[in-house]
């Protein structure tokens, strides 16, 4: 009996390890490519990493590729954009969810449906007109222009609304008895209780913000605003313009581009999973 269990547990581990290897393979190859000289990648692909990883990472961080800004600047831009989008989204979503759940006022559901409507509007649909609005507001080539059009969020508003509806009535009753107003109730009760949800959404939205590509490309004409995902595509497009394909540097940039959101997800995975479970999506 016991040995049978062990065997099947062993089998389970085998399947899981095999899958983990398959999932990690592209990343491993990127590390290998980023750690060699470009010439080494032309013939048979090297199986093991070389010794150039740190040099290549330093080179792209400090210098970028010819014609691009240094990757440290791109990373900084991505950080500002991702954090701006994250904080903005969470901020306006939690406020509007609070308003919809804890108050009764004319047009309550109309407002809610309007927000819901935004879910149907991916950037591909509204690019020209949204660009025009952004330009009229004098927000081109600014972090605000990168951030603001992307912070309305039906998803986050829904999740907060779902969560607030699960909070017991006794909380508000207690607040009423204490004579606490809505603002104090929000700051002292609702916000601390929403911590897990905020953490889970933080991860979701940060990843979304970091990985934006089309919008930054259109709203910024100043190379100083290049984000790392956008810069990556530029590098691949420019691949043909270089005599020797610089896959070593491109892959080094890819590693730098995927590292921050991956770290955020891994560091916060506990809250992430918990928040998603508790809030019941």
């Amino acid at each position: 009996m016991k040995s049978g269990l062990l065997r099947s547990a062993g089998l389970r581990h085998l399947v899981l390890v095999a899958m983990a290897v398959v999932v990690a393979l592209p990343l491993y190859l990127a590390v290998v490519a980023a750690s060699h000289r470009p010439q080494a990648l032309l013939g048979h692909f090297p199986l093991l990493p070389g010794g150039m990883l740190l040099d290549n990472l330093r080179s792209v961080l400090e210098k970028g590729l010819p014609g691009t800004i240094p990757v440290w600047r791109m990373l900084l831009n991505s950080f500002i954009m991702a954090l701006g989008i994250t904080i903005g989204k969470l901020f306006i979503s939690i406020l509007s969810a609070y308003a919809v759940v804890y108050f009764r006022f004319p047009m309550r559901m109309a407002a809610f449906w309007l927000i819901f409507f935004t879910l149907m509007m991916p950037i591909e649909v509204r690019f020209f007109p949204t660009y025009q609005v952004t330009a009229n507001l004098q927000l081109l080539n600014s972090y605000s222009g990168l951030i603001l059009p992307l912070i309305a969020s039906a998803t986050a508003t829904f999740l907060f609304r779902q969560f607030f509806m699960t909070l017991p009535r006794s909380l508000t009753d207690a607040a009423r008895i204490d004579g606490a107003g809505p603002i104090r109730f929000f700051l002292d009760m609702v916000l601390p209780l929403s911590r897990t949800n905020i953490a889970a959404l933080f991860v979701l939205v940060f990843v979304y913000g970091w990985n934006q590509y089309l919008w930054p490309l259109l709203t910024t004409t100043d190379a100083g605003y290049t984000t790392v995902v956008m810069g990556m595509q530029g590098m691949i497009n420019a691949g043909a313009a270089f005599a020797l394909p610089r896959w070593d540097l491109i892959m080094a940039t890819a590693l730098l581009a995927l590292l921050p959101p991956v770290i955020v997800v891994l560091l916060m995975q506990h809250w992430f999973v918990k928040g998603l479970t508790d809030s019941d999506k």
Binding site: L41, V125, P129, T166, A257, D280
Partner: protein
């Protein structure tokens, strides 16, 4: 379509304020109107005009943009490609995500380690996924391409449409496994252990326990994931396709969203692009409404 009121919704207002809620809603509504509603209305009206890209002249053409679209062979083909792509990627990603979630859930040790190993691709931008895989399978330097060559596979996704579509499906599944794994893991943890123990005492084996108890209880999660995966594939994949195949070879990997991107942004055919946007919006509206109703209903499962 009205959302179903869940029994938990309080109908009496906890706070009697009349003005404050509008203040709380103002930032979200302002952004929504400015960057969503107004642009969306413009995009919708654009579908009925034939305009030059600079907006200098436009002619009202009624429904002819739509008519031209549905006469166009490649648009119908894009529908088919999208359907094949969405269904296979979703089935693959959900199936593998479920398998991995069930396997890790049944372990006593190393669950956290496996979770870390499977979650990380979720955070990778589709465009970066594309560049990783392009590099892996590029006929010139790719390690994957070299392996396939030694196996005797005639690997050339630049000319072979089926190979190109396979590659895109594999990449998308790779990207999406993490997301599905995550939600299935969450779903599994919500299943009361007592249920499973009772079934075990009744002599049900692990396989039977899975099909009779776990699987039905995961249905809501699966449904939600089905919608989320579809939305992802409809909208977020053009960056990936753009880097890897640019819709080719032929039109083998031209999905609806990629075609819209090409016609609208690369070829500046605004009327057609606006009409395509409307069709896509209708598609997504359907999906969202389905999802919304489901979320409304989902409250009952708690």
């Amino acid at each position: 379509m009205r959302p179903r009121k869940s029994p938990k919704v309080v109908d009496a207002a906890p706070f009697p304020h009349r003005v404050l809620p509008y203040f709380l809603l103002a930032p979200q509504l302002a952004i929504t109107v400015l960057f969503f509603v107004w642009p969306a209305v413009q995009a919708l009206s654009g579908a009925f005009y034939q305009a030059d890209p600079f907006g200098l002249s436009k002619q009202f053409v009624g429904l002819s943009n739509f008519a031209a679209l549905f006469e166009e062979h490649s648009y119908l083909r894009a529908f088919r490609v999208t359907a094949i792509y969405a269904i296979t990627s979703t089935v693959l990603a959900m199936g593998l995500g479920l398998l991995l979630a069930v396997l890790t859930d049944s372990l006593t040790r190393a669950r956290g380690v496996y979770r870390t190993l499977f979650i990380w691709p979720y955070a990778v931008a589709p465009a970066i996924t594309g560049s990783l895989w392009v590099f892996m399978f590029s006929p010139q330097v790719g390690a994957g391409a070299q392996v396939l060559a030694t196996l005797g596979v005639n690997w050339n996704y630049i000319l072979d449409g089926n190979q190109a579509l396979l590659l895109i499906i594999a990449m998308t599944a790779w990207q999406q496994i993490a997301y599905n794994f995550l939600f299935f893991t969450a779903g599994l943890q919500a299943i009361p252990a007592s249920l499973l123990e009772a079934a075990a005492l009744d002599g049900a084996g692990p396989v039977r326990r899975f099909w009779t108890i776990v699987f039905p209880l995961l249905a809501p999660t699966s449904f939600f994931l089905l919608v989320m995966n579809s939305v992802f594939i409809l909208f977020d994949t053009f960056g990936l396709i753009n880097i890897v195949t640019k819709g080719g070879p032929g039109e083998s990997t031209q999905t609806l969203v990629y075609k819209l991107y090409q016609d609208g942004f690369q070829n500046l055919n605004l009327g057609s692009a606006a009409a395509q946007s409307v069709v896509l919006m209708a598609l997504v509206a359907g999906l969202t409404i389905v999802q919304f109703r489901y979320i409304g209903r989902k409250v009952h499962y708690q």
